[in-house]
Symmetry: C2
Subunit: 244 residues, 2 copies
């Protein structure tokens, strides 16, 4: 008999938050936005532009979660949010070719993984089914994975579940698709709120803090706010904690 | 100007029929069924058992396609079909533990790829997004891919589209999820009927015959029945034909 059981005993799939947890969205969007902003005469800090674009993310999804809008994939919401945020940076999107804005919108498909992510996922995949459970849509996740080498077994998440986190359906339908009980699925995330919502649905929880997600001034999600099933400082440490 | 353009010019994603095209369902189900049949006193040829189980596949999906039944994933249909076919082999499923039948049902998750499939997919993946567009459900495709080493970029298909091929929605929603026009997506399949349905939706078509799918007596799908965009004898030849 084991006196010190592995955490996540009985878990068969690890599903991952992606923006912030697997990839650095702020740095990636800033990198892609920098030449665009310079070309159009803005001297704004591209990282602050990334922050401003991202601030419109939750309100846009809330329109869907509330039922005021049918399910609409994130690429479309990002594109609308881009039109909405550009005037705050002195740029009129109506004066630009749609193709140039569509191209900038693909910044979200080209985010770099945190340095530990690819190797950590490969280790975790040896025992667990691994898949994103992201609000990002399927083709966004495909493009990101191909560019970054993320070795997912499948692309799950909002577009497959037709529900945006933290709505319970996003977690419960994902477990149902995997033909698993919720407690056989563990969410890995850098965000306490996401983990809390997953736990309310019966999923297991692993917290991996990403203290640089929001840049040098980050004040949120620096530490676990509940007793999550596992806490690890990066994906390598998570694999080690799970005996992999 | 190229005088001999590559076939599939403008295509960005290859989506694959799986049962028969990528994997040998008949051989795999027979291999898994053999000890089960022997254990329960049947001397039937396990390949004929596989054929009989498979014959109930299209009628079960037709209940969904016709709208008489809400979308139900293939694992559930396979399990119902197993209960239905066993009496024809002298076995009463009501007399067996459900767990034993559930386990046999997973035979469909453990099918071997045709010998050229894994290497061919890896070559094709260098240029194209590759994904199954199968009537098999997501976790079935995940289990199969992990066991066989199929390097999919994502799992698409009936459960994601909520429609069974050859319903048009299965093809059209898959293109829509990929954010591609139908002509930017090519279906690779060993079945003329599947390709014809995809073509009617505007997808491009690649025929790879699998003359052993139905065993030594196969009489169908031995040759192309329309001028498909590409015809290749296996996935390696397909990659070569596409300059990969």
């Amino acid at each position: 008999m084991r006196t010190n059981p592995m955490p996540l005993d009985g878990v068969r799939a690890l599903v991952f938050d992606v923006f912030g947890t697997v990839v650095d969205w702020r740095g990636g969007v800033a990198r892609e936005a920098a030449p665009f902003l310079a070309r159009h005469g803005s001297s704004a800090d591209p990282a602050l532009f990334a922050d401003a674009w991202r601030r419109r993310y939750q309100p846009a999804m809330e329109e869907v979660r509330s039922g005021r809008r049918p399910f609409t994939r994130l690429d479309v919401l990002h594109r609308e949010n881009l039109d909405a945020v550009l005037p705050d940076f002195g740029i009129d999107p109506a004066g630009l070719p749609a193709a140039e804005l569509d191209e900038l919108n693909l910044a979200w498909h080209r985010l770099d993984p945190w340095p530990d992510a690819v190797a950590g996922l490969a280790r975790l995949k040896a025992r667990y089914i691994i898949a994103p459970l992201s609000n990002g849509n399927i083709v966004l996740m495909i493009d990101m994975a191909r560019r970054a080498g993320l070795p997912w077994d499948a692309i799950l998440g909002a577009e497959v579940a037709r529900a945006y986190k933290p709505a319970p359906e996003a977690y419960l339908r994902t477990a149902e698709i995997l033909a698993m009980r919720p407690e056989e699925v563990c969410l890995v995330a850098a965000h306490n709120g996401d983990l809390a919502a997953a736990r309310r649905c019966g999923l297991r929880t692993a917290f991996v803090p990403r203290p640089a997600e929001h840049g040098p001034g980050q004040a949120t999600d620096l530490a676990p706010e509940e007793e999550w099933n596992v806490v690890a400082e990066d994906f390598g440490a998570l694999a080690a904690r799970l005996g992999l």
